[in-house]
């Protein structure tokens, strides 16, 4: 059986927020200069942020970009 692989961006923002003093979506949104709705969309993998916003999120958690965002194959 042939397995077709597609790549998708995922992230660990929800977990990181929890680990980072239970930061709220609003606090993260204010820190990176976007709306809370945008943070919600990023967390739900419905929106891929711009490179600048991605770096800002990583900077908030003081982590390298690849520990916040992952680009992985998803088997369909």
């Amino acid at each position: 059986m042939i397995s077709m692989s597609e790549y998708a961006i995922s992230n660990s923002i929800r977990t990181l927020r929890f680990l980072y003093n239970e930061m709220t979506q609003k606090q993260l949104a204010d820190a990176i200069g976007v709306t809370r709705q945008t943070v919600m969309a990023i967390e739900a993998n419905k929106y891929s942020p711009s490179l600048e916003v991605a770096f800002k999120i990583a900077a908030v958690f003081k982590l390298p970009l690849e520990e916040v965002f992952q680009y992985r194959a998803t088997n369909t």
């Binding site: 200069g33 976007v34 709306t35 709705q37 945008t38 919600m40 419905k46 929106y47 942020p49």
Partner: protein, 166 residues
């Protein structure tokens, strides 16, 4: 979860941007209703009268300006300087999607109006303009109002679902 809790959760999840768009949508729907209602209730003489039509369009324009100014004053009063905040990248993308739908509807409306005008000017077929004078102009105004409403609905829908890559 009870209905009141669901309502409270929904109200808390509404962003200021969504509130602004919802008010714009309500204003556009009201103006459209006013325009269509005036046309439906107009007599044949009124429909054929240029002065009555000018008055109606002036009323629509006045309502648009007054309601928009009032809604923005209200939003400025209840907002915490959020009106001044620029849109983020995602909101700009959603804005563009709304404008795309708006542009398509306006193009279709103008094409229909031009076609209708040609029918009227050349006397082709049993055209509907014999019953409704100045139909091309009504088509254009209608297209404009539908385009505005579609723009706001598309932005609200895309903003809520987050599916902006379709």
């Amino acid at each position: 979860m009870t209905r009141s809790e669901q309502l409270k959760e929904l109200l808390q999840s509404i962003s200021f941007r969504e509130l602004t768009l919802s008010i714009d949508l309500l204003v556009s729907v009201y103006i459209s209703f006013f325009y269509v209602d005036s046309l439906i209730n107009a007599t044949t003489e009124q429909l054929a009268s240029v002065s009555w039509l000018s008055g109606l369009l002036l009323q629509v324009l006045t309502y648009s300006v007054v309601l928009m100014v009032l809604s923005y004053l209200l939003l400025a009063f209840i907002s915490d300087n959020e009106l001044k905040q620029p849109l983020d990248v995602r909101e700009k993308q959603i804005n563009l999607i709304g404008y795309k739908y708006k542009a398509v509807i306006l193009q279709v409306g103008i094409c229909i109006a031009i076609f209708q005008y040609q029918i009227e000017a050349n006397g082709w077929g049993p055209a509907i303009e014999y019953n409704i004078p100045y139909l091309p102009m009504h088509v254009m105004v209608g297209a404009f109002l539908i385009a505005e409403i579609t723009n706001y609905i598309a932005q609200l829908y895309k903003g809520r679902t987050g599916d902006i890559y379709e």
